[in-house]
């Protein structure tokens, strides 16, 4: 791992529950201090949006996205990632190497926002509905399926046997018919 300085574009997904409880600015400060603690220089760190996730992550359906542009080595990024994985409100992050920071992003810098302006919506109802589905599945699972699966082959076997016996009896009956007819003709001839 080399010690060259690179520019990174970073995106952090913050837990909406913690953003509501502690406020957006406190969360952003935590991310900033974590990055700076490991030797990265934070050029830009701003709210990118609060939006629903395309798929649930750890029972969450929504997240607050934080966009950052930082300067640091691969080692600092790796350490910061590790700390964020273990601690704090960031449940997913991504760092991408870039050539330069766009001018419009640099103008924004470390954006100051009021906590009230960041509306981190509650996503608990969707989590509850997920659990309800699981419970329904769990209730549905026991006995009936096993019985059906066992009963089905037996029934089929019986049916198959029944069909086979019916076929044999019909063939026997068909075979017997000409014999009876032949016996009747011989009787008439004798008479």
């Amino acid at each position: 791992m080399n010690n060259n300085q690179y520019i990174y574009q970073a995106m952090f997904l913050l837990d909406n529950g913690e953003v509501r409880e502690q406020g957006f600015n406190a969360m952003r400060e935590w991310v900033k201090s974590t990055l700076e603690k490991h030797g990265a220089t934070v050029k830009v760190l701003r709210l990118w949006g609060e939006r629903p996730l395309a798929y649930p992550i750890g029972g969450r359906a929504r997240a607050t996205y934080l966009l950052g542009w930082i300067e640091g080595t691969e080692k600092t990024v790796s350490k910061a990632k590790h700390e964020m994985y273990l601690l704090g409100p960031v449940f997913r992050n991504m760092f991408l190497k870039e050539e330069e920071i766009p001018a419009d992003e640099l103008e924004l810098g470390i954006e100051v926002m009021k906590d009230e302006d960041v509306k981190a919506l509650d996503d608990t109802p969707i989590v509850e509905s997920l659990f309800e589905e699981e419970e329904e599945e769990a209730e549905y699972k026991p006995a009936p399926e096993g019985e059906e699966t066992k009963a089905a082959p037996e029934g089929e076997a019986k049916k198959a046997e029944g069909d086979a016996s019916a076929e044999t009896s019909s063939t026997e009956a068909e075979a017997a018919k000409p014999v009876e007819a032949a016996a009747a003709t011989t009787k008439t001839e004798e008479a």
Binding site: M11, L53, A54, Y55, I57, A63, M94
Partner: protein, 63 residues
């Protein structure tokens, strides 16, 4: 080609989900280069942008 090809941006950005969605089908699968009409370099850039967006839950995984 009978189908109209979409005008590609200069650079694919993983944050621009509206643009990326135009290159995905209803299942979330990426269209082939034959269908998108992109060059191989652009197709690779698009592929990377879609993968980054999926990692950040901006786009769904195919399925």
């Amino acid at each position: 080609m009978t189908e109209e090809t979409i005008k590609a941006p200069a650079k694919f950005d993983f944050k621009d989900t509206e643009t990326l969605l135009r290159y995905l089908d209803s299942q979330g699968k990426l269209y082939s280069a034959k269908r998108t009409g992109l060059s191989s370099r652009q197709q690779r850039q698009l592929k990377r942008a879609v993968k980054y967006a999926r990692t950040l839950a901006l786009l769904p995984y195919a399925g």
